[in-house]
């Protein structure tokens, strides 16, 4: 996906279907082949027992089973408009749920790198509204084995570590974040933390 995205909340597709809790929305994107395809934005509706304020955001076309196909490869006529609409849906949700965080899985390295490049390219615009983090998963080394065949990694002991994404920070595709999280920049929780620091 070598596309230069320009996020702009004044350049949106019409959201034609939305749920009362703002967790579901859909709109139609025009494809390069002239077809129109419905895209769905969905925010998980059940929180993780240990992470009560972090919700997953997924988007894409629906597969025949009615699930979001986040690996679908589509040629959108206007990627900027598609991603602006997806982010605007997320923005509306966060405005109604200011204590929540939303997360996006980079379903593969290429897609995660695409998101990262889009964040960097639109940093000034996004930074007005969101705090954005890249999350890396680190695996614990137990101890080095006696032979080169011993596995020193404990894959049951993984620590996710957030890095605040800043303008101009560079990271290679091979070292790309596993997950992206964002929340509202201007929210009461951030203000409370600033006061205590």
């Amino acid at each position: 996906m070598a596309v230069a995205l320009n996020i702009d909340f004044d350049n949106l597709y019409e959201i034609d279907n939305i749920s009362t809790d703002l967790r579901f929305s859909s709109f139609k994107s025009n494809l390069n082949n002239g077809q129109e395809i419905p895209l769905v934005v969905k925010i998980s509706n059940e929180s993780h027992a240990l992470l009560p304020n972090v919700y997953n955001l997924a988007f894409g076309p629906l597969n025949p089973k009615g699930k979001i196909d986040d690996k679908a490869e589509l040629n959108h006529a206007d990627y900027s408009k598609v991603f602006s609409t997806i982010l605007f849906s997320a923005f509306a949700y966060l405005k109604s749920n200011p204590a929540h965080y939303l997360g996006i899985d980079g379903s593969d390295n290429a897609r995660a790198y695409f998101y990262y490049r889009a964040i960097q390219r639109n940093f000034r615009y996004l930074d007005q509204h969101f705090r954005i983090f890249g999350i890396k998963y680190f695996v614990r080394i137990t101890r080095f084995g006696k032979t080169q065949y011993d596995n020193p990694f404990d894959f049951e002991d993984i620590m996710p570590y957030p890095f605040k994404i800043e303008k101009g920070s560079r990271i290679s595709q091979d070292e790309m974040y596993n997950y992206f999280i964002f929340n509202l920049k201007d929210n009461p929780i951030n203000k409370k933390i600033k006061k205590t620091l």
């Binding site: 949106l12 992470l51 997953n56 923005f91 929780i189």
Partner: protein, 54 residues
């Protein structure tokens, strides 16, 4: 935030409240992050780092 965005947000929120569809039935969350975090200590440390990241 500029007025045009504020108006769009207000319109979308109004649309959701007045004509929105019923929320979906609850489904378990299935992100990689949620799979990785398995203990309360891990979750608490992660949230602390996230909240304090400057």
């Amino acid at each position: 935030m500029n007025q045009s965005i504020e108006r769009k947000l207000a319109a979308l929120t109004k649309k959701a409240k007045e004509n929105g569809r019923k929320p979906d039935a609850k489904a378990p969350i299935s992100s990689s992050l949620h799979k990785v975090i398995k203990t309360k200590e891990q979750a608490d440390l992660f949230m602390k780092l996230l909240k304090e990241a400057k």
